[in-house]
Symmetry: C2
Subunit: 130 residues, 2 copies
DNA sequence: GTTTGCGGTGGAGTGCACTCCAACTCCTAC
DNA sequence: GTAGGAGTTGGAGTGCACTCCACCGCAAAC
């Protein structure tokens, strides 16, 4: 008899979140302390319980991180987010700037990738000429 | 009367190399100390004089760095290079592995870039609905 | 009722890649 | 001859993003 789930609904423990995100529990606590993640719900015994909304936000944070955004900039973005709808335009501006930097970075990597290809070709030719 | 250039030929001072590469003089010395750059020629008064071959190597090092290779791996590559022709196959292997990692990284950035695009679209729609 | 295990906190420590500094040495120009 | 400027060395310091640690609390398992 699965009764209607009570209030806690579907929440995850810190180690479960760690497993799903690849972050360590220490890093999750560090991010929260740093204000990247707003204080997450607690169980009666004071343990963190991550809800779906927390997970979505963490996933997005990781996109920002993986595309090279610094902790300082993520803090700024998270703070804007806590400021609510009034900050939408500012957040959009941040994301657009970040996208520009990202595209520049991808382009730079592709250019360097071709230089790397050339170097590899060079070495392959050296090895062919036994 | 520009007489035939003597032995030093076309060499650059450390600040000139810094300007051309974007590295600081401190970083150039640090790289040399770390073995990334093999001891560069010196003037009679003990000052570094970078030759064309040094510049080519530094340019390539920067490609490796900019594509995410760690100092430790660049040290390994530089050491192989000092080992001469016998290490060609090893160096080729390193570069191929590095290229695989680079392509994975570029791909990951492109995927995250699309997620970023979606988020930007989302914010744009929020702002349109005045 | 105590061992086991997960989680909490504050704060110290780590690894990487630089970056800065003090003290000294050379030229070059005045 | 001395002041200025560029460069030398060894070693200390910095900023970032974690990562580790000691010590404590709670709850289920035995």
């Amino acid at each position: 008899m699965t009764s209607a789930t009570p209030l806690p609904a579907e929440t995850l423990s810190i180690t479960e979140v760690a497993e799903r995100t690849g972050l360590s529990p220490d890093t999750l606590r560090y991010y929260e302390k740093a204000g990247l993640i707003s204080p997450v719900g607690r169980s009666t015994s004071g343990r963190r319980r991550y809800a779906a909304a927390d997970m979505n936000w963490i996933d997005f944070l990781l996109r920002l991180r993986d595309t090279g955004m610094s902790i300082a900039d993520m803090q700024r973005f998270a703070e804007l987010r806590r400021g609510g709808a009034a900050t939408t335009a500012d957040r959009l501006a941040m994301l657009r700037e970040h996208r520009v930097r990202l595209h520049r970075r991808i382009h730079g990597l592709q250019v360097s990738g071709r230089a790397l290809d050339d170097k590899i070709d060079h070495y392959e030719r050296l090895l062919e000429d036994t």
